[in-house]
């Protein structure tokens, strides 16, 4: 679909825009916001939850986090005990509704489908596509350009080579198409 021509109106009672251009649902559960760095022009939709209280979360530009999605950092167990690792989300990452992301790293230009669960400490490299309903086991790593599906998730295909430009455009168009009415 051509998001560049569609406009979705957001009510100013529910959504607010920050100085760096982030459009955030006012009642989103954001814990520990001092540890959350969003580089700008991102959209956090209704009822999403970001747990910055456990450890830091860094998101790039033009990210889109769908409704009711939960983002929290993961931990890794060492012989001396557990440590919480900060979570890195790249630029232009499109996350659809109802996802649970406990990953260590989600690369830029990734598209995560509805209801996907990304396991603890997993690493998803750039330009990947996670199909709807995929369940990614903990500690797994996926190379760039993979299509990930299934429970437990495996690489089932390759995304087109021009994914970086496709998703980068789609993310920018998505950001522009959501307009907070004045």
């Amino acid at each position: 679909m051509d998001e560049g021509l569609v406009v979705v109106k957001l009510s100013p009672d529910e959504y607010t825009q920050t100085n760096s251009g982030n459009k955030i649902f006012k009642n989103a559960s954001i814990f520990g916001s001092q540890n959350i760095i969003i580089h700008g022009k991102s959209i956090l939709m209704r009822d999403c939850m970001l747990r910055g209280d456990l450890t830091g979360i860094r998101m790039g530009k033009f990210c889109f986090i769908g409704e009711r999605t939960l983002i929290r950092a993961s931990h890794r167990k060492f012989s001396k005990g557990a440590t919480m690792f900060p979570m890195h989300v790249g630029d232009c990452v499109i996350v659809e509704e109802d996802c649970v992301l406990v990953a260590a790293q989600i690369g830029s230009y990734t598209h995560i489908g509805k209801g996907a669960i990304v396991g603890r400490s997993s690493i998803i490299k750039e330009c990947c596509k996670v199909e709807a309903g995929a369940v990614i086991p903990s500690d797994s790593t996926f190379p760039p350009f993979s299509v990930i599906a299934g429970n437990p998730a495996r690489v089932v295909g390759r995304v087109p080579e021009c994914t970086q430009e496709l998703i980068s455009q789609a993310a920018k168009e998505l950001y522009e198409s959501y307009v907070i009415q004045r």
Binding site: M1, D2, E3, G4, L5, V6, V8, G66, K77, S79, I94, E96, Y109, H111, G119, R120, K125, E126, C127, P137, S138, D139, S140, T141, F142, P143, P144, F145, S146, P152, R154, V155, P160, E161, C162, T163, Q164, E165, L166, I167, A170, K172, L174, E176, V179
Partner: protein
């Protein structure tokens, strides 16, 4: 949002008559035609492990049977195994099905990598036979070479000053038929008995491996399981079959997404997208809203005409001609960019930066599972050829739009 990036609804015809969405096509500027995966030559330029993303040289990969030494898969559910400490030793366990190396014969070891793999009991015999066959091959090759060379008799008279005597001896040896050194197998005369209990005994399926596990580990004989080494992955380089120029090549590192060479069709061909979901009602004329986007850095002149085939919907819109300005990175930031909402005519109803919105009228006469709208796309763009004068020629391709049920 739900229909984000529905890439498979619009198909372009490649020069080899295959239909593919534009994002999966490439454009060869030297030949000035579209190419798809079927009409390009694939080469593997990099072998790497998908889990540790470490580059493995092709030769090393071959000796390791295309497996990574450090990363392991669970034999039950194929997820990645993670290493854990238990006191001094290290064991591997799966986070999905909780299989651990305690269930295999090697329970723990000192290092995280280099777990022993199951061995083929016939390995030694097979390699012996293989060596033997290689000797036969050399022998047969030497016999064929006799016809090419002159007589060998001369060599016996020469002195060994130039090492010719050695060469002669070697050649003479190669001509001898080698003896069979590998072990010989005796045919079996006594077979195992087949008892009724083989058919009537109850099998506990929960203890036996699934079919998928058995296929992944053929040497396991259904019960022993060891961690399976992760198979390596290969990365492709695409090359045009006609002019042998590279169409797509990534940088060296396995985790890189930067292209050294990229000739994606999107940057040379105007992209047609569905603007809104079309509802086709039987009997009557329905509007179909599409948009045409110019992703290249040069201006494009576009002509769109209907191609009324037997199998496609009849499109009543006449020929549409328009020109699209180039794609400009900087203008992305203007959310209030100039977009004219007043329709220029019945067909072009919206113009915004490098895209136009079009309304096409199609006539739906019967109920069909999949309605297809066929169009012919002609475009002129100075980037479509390496030489600037040829770039002013019109290029043409057919486009299929899959509209769904009526």
């Amino acid at each position: 949002m739900a229909e984000l990036l529905q890439l498979d609804r619009i198909l372009y015809e490649c020069s080899c008559s295959e239909w593919a969405p534009l994002c999966r096509l490439f454009y060869c500027r030297h030949c000035s035609i579209l190419r798809c995966h079927s009409c390009t030559a694939n080469e593997i330029d990099c072998t790497f492990c998908g889990t540790c993303l470490e580059n493995v040289a092709v030769g090393e990969a071959r000796t390791r049977k295309n497996r990574c030494v450090n990363c392991y898969q669970c034999p039950i559910c194929c997820s990645t195994l993670s290493a854990h400490n238990s006191g001094e030793a290290i064991f591997l366990s799966c986070s999905t099905c909780k299989w651990s190396t305690f269930e295999s014969d090697i329970q723990q070891q000192a290092t995280a990598g280099n777990w022993k793999i199951l061995e083929n009991p016939h390995e030694e015999e097979l390699s012996c036979v293989l060596d033997q066959m290689k000797q036969y091959e050399l022998n047969e090759k030497a016999q064929r070479d006799i016809l090419k060379r002159r007589s060998n008799v001369v060599g016996s008279r020469l002195t060994d000053r130039f090492g010719l005597q050695q060469m002669y001896q070697k050649r003479k040896q190669a001509l001898e038929r080698p003896t069979w050194l590998a072990p010989e197998k005796e045919p079996i005369t006594v077979l195992d008995e087949l008892y009724d209990s083989h058919f009537t005994s109850i099998v506990d399926l929960s203890k036996s491996l699934s079919l998928e596990s058995r296929i992944m580990q053929p040497l396991s004989r259904g019960s022993e399981c060891r961690p399976i080494r992760m198979p390596l992955k290969g990365r492709r380089v695409l090359r045009c079959t006609q002019c042998t120029h590279n169409l797509s090549k990534l940088e060296y590192s396995p985790s890189s997404i930067v292209f050294k060479i990229q000739y994606f069709a999107r940057t040379y061909v105007p992209e047609i997208r569905l603007w809104q979901e079309t509802k086709l009602a039987e009997g009557g004329i329905c509007p179909v809203f599409i948009s045409v986007v110019n992703e290249s850095v040069a201006k494009a002149d576009v002509v769109l005409l209907a191609n009324n085939d037997d199998s496609s919907l009849e499109c009543e819109t006449p020929v549409v001609e328009f020109s699209l300005p180039p794609h400009d990175e900087n203008s992305d930031n203007l959310s209030h960019s100039i977009s004219s909402l007043t329709p220029e005519d019945d067909t072009i109803i919206l113009r915004k930066r490098n895209r136009v919105g079009l309304k096409l009228c199609v006539k739906v006469d019967e109920v069909r599972e999949m309605n297809i709208l066929s169009l012919i796309l002609k475009w002129k763009n100075e980037l479509t050829s390496m030489t600037s004068d040829k770039g002013q020629e019109w290029r043409e391709t057919r486009v299929k739009v899959l509209l769904g049920k009526s």
